[in-house]
Symmetry: C2
Subunit: 327 residues, 2 copies
């Protein structure tokens, strides 16, 4: 049973989830560099090991064996759960939802290696489950992320992503939406559209620009080789992406991950979907995007103490290297 606790001395929020300490880290610790079998008999996400899954919520079917592209299952060690009633003080309970998306039947490939069909199935599954999570009663924000490699927090090596539905808007999203709203109030513009435009003009941090997306290193990148995939069309929420947006996202993300691997080799990384907002008040100001955050550094006490990050790299140099690392 998890609890959402606020530190009374500084207002920061923490999810206390003791059952997650039991996750299968020790048994199948997945380093991004370890070569893997196509089917691993010990992996709960591989076909044939369905008895190790808590349940199957959804499948995206495939004409080829084993009959599915992607699967959606409940997280076996959820940080939040809908199993309880929504209590009067929702923030103190662990109410919410936590799903895992198994991205492929194959144990040995990552998103960058999938066929276009398979990677598009993943992105469509994200979109579908993102919408389903938003529709759960009492849910106010949905976070979609992907941990690849144990340094990035993954406890299993089989390609998967996660969707957590929260009964409140989490601190970072809250401050992002407030920031975007304030910018719109004073300038009449979406700050993400404006910033992307500025980046494309300067060209200093542009990795690639396609019809629908810009791939950039952020001006204030938090990590070396961080990439930001931002829709060029103003789109307030990921829920509002259309079929063409999703197909192009799958392609653009494969591109970004291939560039990262060409530039730095296999490594642990996180994907973080900045969800934007469906709230009509925020619609002209909010703008979804996707961040690719590689694990090349270990943040230390400075980051813990200040709430700031030190990036020991140059976003301009990283962008140049990534721009030259295609194919």
């Amino acid at each position: 049973m998890s609890e959402i606790r606020q530190d009374r001395t500084n207002g920061e929020w923490v999810i206390i989830a003791p059952s997650r300490g039991e996750r299968p880290h020790a048994r199948v610790l997945a380093d991004a560099k370890t070569p893997r079998l196509a089917i691993d008999p010990l992996c709960p996400f591989c076909p044939g090991n369905e008895d190790q899954l808590p349940a199957i919520i959804d499948e995206y079917s495939s004409p080829e064996a084993p009959g599915w592209h992607t699967r959606v299952i409940p997280n076996k060690f959820p940080v939040l759960s809908t199993a309880r009633q929504v209590p009067s003080d929702r923030l103190q309970s662990g109410y919410g939802n936590h799903e895992v998306i198994i991205e492929t039947p194959r144990h040995d490939i990552d998103f960058a290696d999938m066929s276009a069909d398979c990677s598009e199935a993943v992105v469509r599954t994200w979109h579908h489950r993102f919408g389903a999570a938003l529709a759960i009663p009492g849910i106010e924000a949905v976070m979609l992320f992907r941990n690849r490699g144990n340094l990035a927090g993954a406890s299993l090596g089989h390609a998967h992503s996660q969707i957590v539905a929260l009964p409140f808007v989490p601190p970072r999203l809250r401050s992002t939406l407030d920031w975007e709203y304030a910018h719109f109030q004073t300038s009449g513009k979406c700050v993400v559209c404006e910033e992307t435009e500025r980046e494309l003009e300067s060209g200093k941090r542009v990795i690639e620009c396609t019809e629908r997306y810009a791939i950039l290193t952020p001006f204030a990148a938090q990590r070396p080789y961080e990439q930001w995939i931002v829709p060029r069309r103003h789109t307030p929420s990921f829920a509002m992406a259309n079929a063409d947006d999703l197909a192009a996202l799958s392609d653009t993300l494969q591109n970004a991950l291939a560039r990262l691997r060409n530039a730095k080799g296999e490594l642990s990384y996180n994907l973080v979907l900045e969800p934007g907002s469906l709230d009509s008040e925020f619609a002209p100001a909010a703008h979804w995007s996707l961040r690719v955050v590689p694990h090349l550094t270990n943040p230390g006490g400075f980051e813990l103490g200040t709430g700031m990050v030190i990036n020991p790299s140059s976003p301009e140099r990283d962008a140049l290297h990534l721009a030259q690392s295609w194919g």
Copy 2:
């Protein structure tokens, strides 16, 4: 040359410090579990290797060879520097200061293993350099931290701590001070004093209580086995700790680190000094403390996206284990 950059799309701050990418990670990567020599000829912090140091700012002398307890040097790869004039827009420059405190001439011991004399010399050096950093023109906050082991961000194995002087109050300290101030305005009380009192009464998360300090696991602990060393007397800033406070802090911290090692073995950890404030406006509301943050988990995409932390442990269970792990 470092820069402090604000992400225009969400207001978050990042220090871009490309020269830190050149730190000696690869050559002398220090895992907390690797046994070490008493003097390592390759270690720049060991006696006899002074030619590898950029300079020696200060020494705390010792009657025994090599004649010093602790040394203070400039960080060779500073995240901030006073080498430039304070420009008109201070936030955009990398103005500040970054010192390293070499805590002992011996390469093979950590804080927990030092004699009482040696550990007290470390804490006194912290206090002295903390005050010196606050006195630098244009400095508004001083962060003191210690990274132990490479998972905790250390690039060298020799026991050391760091002091960064910032030309502004960083986001987390800003929100902590604002929070404490708001609490004082409504209740007339210091929230840290109040919270410590409440914890000592409930006893659920108390590891130990001495004359001057309480050792607790925080109610909303961010990591498994996190410990909070909090002065029982209301003290707004670490700069206001007196000689007896410092001697007791050295003793209490050795106690906390020994408990951690007894409970979980050798591991990487961070120390973070919550500095409090010398500002007279904040004096009745602010309260310094010291956090011991072990590295037992790898935060992933959820933490990056939400700005919240998932602690896969129970602070109550951790406190019990640490309370029973003495001696």
